[in-house]
Subunit: 469 residues, 2 copies
């Protein structure tokens, strides 16, 4: 049976695209992993996904699931393969305020879920720059992180239940809404973060949180990163862990941001090396009353702490958001990171994790390492400092693949010598496969290969991703 | 080669027990799953565990890992198999206060870890009645829960890194201390809760939390369970989620407790149907100052809330602990649950999870179901109400296996009709295998079997546990 005809039988003629019609699906956000798919298929239901995967298995055709295509490691690149887009599976099936859960399909755009929760005075706390395009399927498949992990955890910790189509087309229903459910192996956790190589996620139950009654948001400059950690720990202990975001931007980032977005403003009157965006959430009724962010106690409290630390010399400057517009401006500066860091070429993009108190050591050592490798290279970083997650981008002075590879390896050397990981939140995809091969425990890689071979014996689900060749 | 001689070569003559010498290892806590092992082996290091498992693989001998043997589902029963006790791997290798991590071996007793953390003003928050015997290996292998899950999560969420010996004896090192680490499949999560069927956990990195500066602990009586949830939600919102424990004991539990421990006291002057043990933790310096639990603001705050709710009729009675001795008495009443509920036979013991707002519906329906099946049956329950986890124990009027099975099935029927799970925190072991076969998604069971066969092709690691036959 002709594959394309079979696919059209399943989803309808208009939902199978071939040739030039696939053009809108050929690029991802990075423009580094262009796709040339056999076809694009757009199912509307789990049953259709199941039928597509069954047909793919019968015909031995690889399937690459894709959602918002905002990943940074080439995990959704499809060449000569079926590109299965979940974009039409975009229903928020239910938001259950009492249970604090949302039942969503894989094609729901992250910011749409944010808005739907907001309307019920709840939050789905996961957020990052690409939220207007990223979809839940990709968010789950990469175990995405972002700026609120310090308070709420990564995607895996925010997912209670999952529905997955397996390599043979069967549907595995794990759509639990429970917080405790010890019924066999942790399959939900295994399929989250597997980047579509073990199964295709079609729906999920996500955990929601009460919406903080108010936010206190500030830009803060400190003399050193250890001083920044002092501020973080002080706020965490005093608020019982209510720090929602703790983001670090060095001067090079601020300059890069202003160069890319010239109508934006400096965060402070004078330039500083260490710029932090800090947000604390407050829950009613003890800490705050609902209403304007500028008039509630949590802001007063943050100002008090900052003023005290300024007297001690541990804070150099601070600007507290007085209204939602000022708060949005602070967030925007941080959320435009991808545009800031990927605006010039050649570049080497490293998403690494470190113990919190080793971030400054990493940056010091990289200064030296970079100078030794390429005296004219430059760098920018932006960091979820509250998690020890650093996005470090180096710009070599010339296009030289060997130099770029050497740079990546050097970054890994420094990270691993400090007890860190070569991959924090962007996943492996294709870009990080060499790092996986070099740095991950070889026994663990072998266990992953064994699981992949057992669950996808024909190697048809997103082949060539995650696992080293 | 003779197996016993080979084992003695690995661990030394005195650490391989056979015949009568295995007597101390034959019973577990429940006395329902007696072991008659081929031998007991007591390795002191990961290398020894590795060598034992290699030898077992070469000789085709099954290995059952055991630690504190306090599990309730027969997961550590060993008949004619090697019982591998991790009790000598009992070192707390390091507690790192700045990183808030503890690096521990599988044989560390839970309460020893509690004490070591306490000495550094930190807590490892997982706790339950068997804490004086249970060891980290078993805690991880069953993804144990307990009374503080409402605030801190189950074991899986408290583990950052893991070391596992695989079925062929290789050591998989995943001893990360990082909070973000997206480097391939979630193997750590898969091996946690696998009850030793996929590998033997030998060491782990556990996440610690700052020790609350003070606790406010109270026994509270409410007219209904929905009133109890009102109290829970009110405290959670006001304290930013600082409720450490929210335990429910019906009158039948209080009576059972007093019958078993006649020198203990009633919680209130008058008997109540709905008895709650509530604990809220406070972090310095906003909520409380360190020192005597009776003199700090968090206690005043709890008293205020209880007084207001009493005026509204949503609370009937309340006793707040004035000192550590009174607090310990409240905890003891709850932690003696296993002695209270398993003291008479025959019994049917169900560890189930429900949406929080369905717990009272479950109990109402069970009242009716139990009466229909066996008019003279009695029941006790005790519940981690903050997680919707109910330990429901029924006492049939006669020893009749068919009646007991029918009771278990009825409990499952009611639980599943309310969106719950047949297994919350005790795991599957052997006791819940029939429930797994009946109630778990069959595709999920098949995926588990596929993973088990791929990672343990000889079926030598704790065979016959977790997966239905």
């Amino acid at each position: 049976m002709d594959l394309i005809a079979g696919l059209k039988d399943i989803v309808g003629d208009t939902q199978v695209l071939t040739g030039d019609a696939t053009a809108p699906y050929r690029d991802d956000w990075t423009k580094k992993f262009p796709s040339d798919p056999l076809c694009v298929v757009r199912p509307a239901t789990t049953d259709e996904v199941s039928a597509i995967v069954k047909l793919a298995a019968e015909t031995g055709t690889p399937v690459v699931p894709a959602s918002g295509r905002t990943g940074l490691t080439g995990g959704a690149q499809a060449n000569g393969q079926i590109l299965l887009s979940v974009e039409r599976m975009n229903k928020i099936r239910e938001i259950r305020p009492d249970a604090r859960t949302a039942i969503v399909e894989a094609g729901v755009i992250l910011s749409n879920l944010h808005e739907a929760c907001e309307a019920k005075n709840l939050v789905f706390p996961l957020t990052f720059g690409a939220k207007g395009s990223a979809m839940i399927g990709g968010v789950l498949s990469t175990n995405a992180g972002g700026s609120n992990v310090v308070r709420y955890g990564s995607t895996r910790g925010l997912c209670l239940g999952l529905e997955v189509v397996l390599a043979d087309g069967r549907v595995m229903n794990l759509m639990s809404e429970l917080h405790k459910d010890n019924s066999g192996y942790a399959l939900k956790d295994l399929f989250i973060g597997a980047e579509g190589t073990l199964g295709i996620i079609t729906a999920a139950v996500m955990k929601l949180s009460p919406k903080p009654a108010a936010y206190a948001t500030a830009m803060v400059a400190t003399p050193t990163l250890p001083d920044a950690l002092k501020l973080l720990n002080r706020l965490q202990i005093a608020t019982g862990g209510a720090v929602e975001a703790f983001e670090f931007m060095p001067r090079s980032y601020i300059e890069g941001h202003l160069a890319r977005f010239p109508d934006q403003r400096e965060p402070f009157d004078a330039p500083h090396d260490i710029n932090l965006m800090v947000e604390v959430g407050a829950l009613a009724p003890r800490d705050a009353t609902p209403g304007d962010v500028g008039s509630v106690p949590i802001v007063d409290y943050l100002e008090e702490v900052l003023a005290e630390m300024m007297e001690d010399g541990a804070v150099l400057d601070a600007v507290v958001a007085r209204n939602e517009a000022q708060r949005r401006e602070m967030w925007q500066r941080r959320e435009e990171a991808a545009q800031v860091t990927t605006g010039r070429l050649p570049l080497v993009n490293c998403d690494v994790a470190l113990p919190l108190d080793k971030v400054h050591v990493f940056l010091e050592r990289m200064e030296q390492v970079l100078a030794e490798l390429d005296a004219d290279a430059q760098w920018i970083c932006v960091s979820h400092l509250g998690d020890g997650n650093v996005h470090y981008t180096a710009y070599p002075s010339k296009k030289d693949p060997a130099l770029q590879d050497a740079l990546v390896e050097k970054v890994e050397d420094v990270v691993l010598s400090l007890g860190g990981s070569f991959s924090a939140e962007h996943g492996i995809g294709q870009y990080k496969k060499p790092s996986m091969a070099r740095r991950k425990n070889p026994v663990a890689i072998d266990v992953m290969r064994t699981i992949k071979a057992a669950l996808d014996p024909q190697n048809l689900l997103n082949p060539g991703k995650v696992l080293p060749d």
